[in-house]
Amino acid sequence: MAETKPRITDIGPPDYRQFLPPVIEKNYGQWKYHEILEPGVMVHVAERGDKVYTVRVASPRLLSLDTIRFYADVADRYCGGHLRFTSRHNVEFMTTDADNVPEIRKEVEERGHLVGGIGNSITSMVHTQGWVHCHSAATDASGIVKAVMDDLAEHFTAMDLPAKCRIALACCLNMCGAVHCSDIAILGIHRKPPRIEHDKLDKICEIPLVSSSCPTAAIRPTTVNGTKSVDVIEEDCMFCANCFTVCPALPIADAEADGVSIWVGGKVSNARTQPRFSKLAIPYITNNPPRWPEVTSAVKNIVDVWRQDARKFERIGDWIERIGWPRFFKKTGIEFGKEHIDDYTHAGLSFQRTAQITHVDWD
């Protein structure tokens, strides 16, 4: 009889303590201050004087095993076999020897991975799977990220901005990338109601669940040719795709109608101003692969206008708060329309309920 190994379950993640570089283990909780030495490089100094240099490196997030092994080799050569990743998909190589910094930089740059993303710069974009792996995508993720960051790479490798700028992309409203509090958010959107596959809906979906999944109550049970199905009141559909999430027989993706929207001015940090949501800047740009030129130029335009107009420390949202939304639309040349005015729950809270106004010459 073949020997069966006992099955291992519920062990949880590996204990992080086994992965800490010695200098970090030794100075855990004992760091005194840090300084940014050059774009993408910082030093942390401990109470007892120990130093650790960090080199932050851009990654495409979608990685082959070759590249992960390359990172492991770099870590072995310069960092005692340790490395970490950041919450925004960068890789960080940490070393106690300042002489290793240019060596690490050379190796990663030779492989085409930029060093930067610290301080007042644009760091890597948090993003979702898109057409690489997702069933509900209204656009690709990796492709737009690549094209946008190609355009903005100069702000990853330099600290030439008024403040930091966090850009993120989610390929549908489910927002696995939770982009709703980003300085600039790129959000994939559908613009046509779901198509109803009456022949299979009842077989693969629970009709009460489908009906109740609709936030505007636009989906109602019905019978089509003797088969139970649902009916969608198309004018009440706001294309959230929640029905598709609970029922595969309601596909909503459409090559002609799908595309992206652009949102601005959100943040999560509490520094100076409070965390806030991103607000709609551009309601729709068509999908134009492989490089989405209309999206990249729209993002670059917002970054450029902000960069030239903002005061020191002003995140995009802080800048807009100061100059007012009319001047934001005027300066960026972005058209303002009906879509910008909220009509969902508590919409009135976003109306301008004061006579304090900045007058803009629209001619």
Binding site: H34, L62, D140, M175, C176, S269, N270
Partner: protein
Amino acid sequence: MPKEYKTPQLDELEKGPWPSFVKEIKLAAKNNEMANDVLGQLEQSYDERLGHWKHGGIVGVMGYGGGVIGRYSDLPDKYPAVSHFHTLRVNHPSGWFYTSDALRKVCDIWEKHGSGLTNMHGSTGDIVLLGTRTEKLEPVFQELAEAGFDLGGSGSDVRTPSCCVGKARCEWACYDTMKACYDITMRYQDELHRPAFPYKWKFKFAGCPNDCVASIARADCSLIGTWRDDLRIDQDEVAAYADGGLDIFNDVVLQCPAKCMRYDAEKKTLEVDNESCRRCMHCINVMPKALRPGTDTGAVFLLGSKAPILEGALLSSVMVPFVNLDDEEEFEDFCDLVDEMIDVWCEEGKARERVGEFIQRVGMGNFLEAIGLEPMPEMVAYPRDNPYIFYEMEEEEELEEA
């Protein structure tokens, strides 16, 4: 020999200074048919402007209900190697620290059993192993377990908790985020692997109000470091910043949202009205050598943030203004409170209703009553500005009678 796909569209994304995901897929495709078929199918998506993945199915490993995202190509005849393309979420170590050996072990397992494509990391924090077949799930899972890794969350369960780098390499960490994250993850293993909630529940641990893990926007349960005592000031370093050319009055004092700082330009000293300080971090961010958080440190416990689906996006809001998570007893109390919240939400919440939406529906006052937490002014930006109060007269009358 794997098929050779012409990919003129994707080839365009190999150009330019930013590291290219297409190069990564091509590297993987050299010796992996799945990665090669991903390339072919993705090129077709670029041609058609449509994704070609089917809605997931229920696949997983024995005894778990989460951790695997089922995925199938809707063009299996054309791209047979990705007819199954399931993803495993692998729970990352706190702070995303690794040794090269640990990473290589994961690589070796994935080389043997999967597409060779990964995300380091998914937006929630997991290592994402992109694409394998149903029959490979169990072997991957067990080999990962032997290497010390376990699966993360998916579906209506505790999702993989994550945290900032914290005390490992940041002087601003007001509590041990990496330990709290690890301890919570270990405590909720059952809830993480076996979905039994109305919907997902995320924990994120940020060491200071800069919130490097976007806890306030992305976690149902947000723990954001703060301190209660005075800001620590090194006046010699304040003078050094002034001598170095920093415009302390304009860049620090005038930027303070609480207007709680005064700068004496002659003496080059900084004075703080600590009672008014809001712990926003701006001054510390600008002068890290001169200013530091105090030493009576802990976290603000906020609850309820989420992305828009379904009733609109929410930010987390304050539940407990201060909790010292490094203190064992207080950590236990925190866990008990979380259990209480989860119980109430599991009992009363509707399917696919996040806890933030649940609170919107039942009312914060009622929620607080149900979990046994006293209302505090710190919980609101301002008190109610409408007169529609649900007075509970019966209770008052009962009280009067008693």
